[in-house]
């Protein structure tokens, strides 16, 4: 599991790739929180197109980042999840709190 970061105009994009399970979750959490400390973004996008697998541990990671940004008045949303992570996200009901978007290009596939 890898995270790359890109910042522009107060908005941080974190690119997740690989598999996000309980084994990866602690390290991902630590890395993501370090990046939030460093960039202090207003808003944060998690770009998930490279994430090939995610289970409920991934939901816990996203919820924690959501709460963390909420505390500083920021927002978080998810972009371009693949089919398997999307099914987990759907069942978790996280969309009531965190918006999931798909770019036009992806939608056309």
């Amino acid at each position: 599991m890898e995270i790359r970061a890109k910042e522009s105009g107060g908005r941080l994009t974190l690119y997740f790739s690989g598999e996000l399970d309980h084994h990866a979750a602690k390290e991902v959490m630590r890395r993501a929180e370090d990046l939030l400390d460093r960039y202090m973004p207003l808003d944060c996008t998690l770009e998930l197109s490279g994430l090939s697998f995610m289970d409920s541990s991934g939901v816990a990671v996203i919820l924690r980042l959501y709460k963390r940004l909420l505390n500083t008045g920021g927002r978080i949303w998810l972009e371009n999840p693949q089919e398997q992570p999307l099914r987990v996200l759907d069942i978790s009901g996280i969309e009531r709190l965190v918006k999931i978007t798909t770019t036009a290009k992806e939608r056309g596939r």
Partner: protein, 145 residues
């Protein structure tokens, strides 16, 4: 045994084995020619069951986990995850959505996901003896044309 084929793997309860367990079951399930969605569902359910054993059955030690896959004569896929760890007093409570005794990297969604992604789920547990989770899923017949 009432099965066409089976696989049995024993793993120590180390978190690195979560990925190995779901990859092994995905490999075994491939002979049923599952769709990508079915394979994703099965891998997710296995991941949740094995993670539960690692986190809850053996919180302070490394113990044994037995993972089995079985293709029944009906064509159904059965997966079981067994441990000899702590066990649970109240299985129904553990199955309640969002209930968790796990750390901040758990969401309390594990059983909900197993229930949603598999057709049948049975959990047997005894405090001090261990837990067995058995899940079944019928895979759609692919059109052969």
């Amino acid at each position: 045994m009432n099965s066409r084929n089976y696989i049995k793997i024993e793993l120590p309860s180390r978190s690195v084995n979560e990925g190995i367990a779901r990859a092994a079951i995905a490999c075994f399930a491939a002979q049923l020619d599952p769709t990508l969605e079915e394979l994703g569902d099965i891998k997710t359910a296995v991941s949740e069951a094995v993670t539960n054993a690692i986190v809850h059955a053996y919180p302070d030690s490394i113990g044994r986990i037995c993972l089995r896959g079985r293709i029944m004569t009906s064509g159904e896929l059965e997966i079981s995850v067994r441990d000899w760890g702590k066990g649970m007093e109240d299985v129904e409570k553990a199955r309640t959505p969002l209930f968790t005794t796990g750390g901040p990297e758990r969401s309390g969604m594990g059983f909900t996901i197993m229930e949603s992604f598999m057709d049948k789920l049975r959990v047997r547990s005894k405090p001090g003896k261990g837990t067995t989770v058995v899940m079944r899923r019928t895979l759609e017949k692919r059109r052969e044309d």
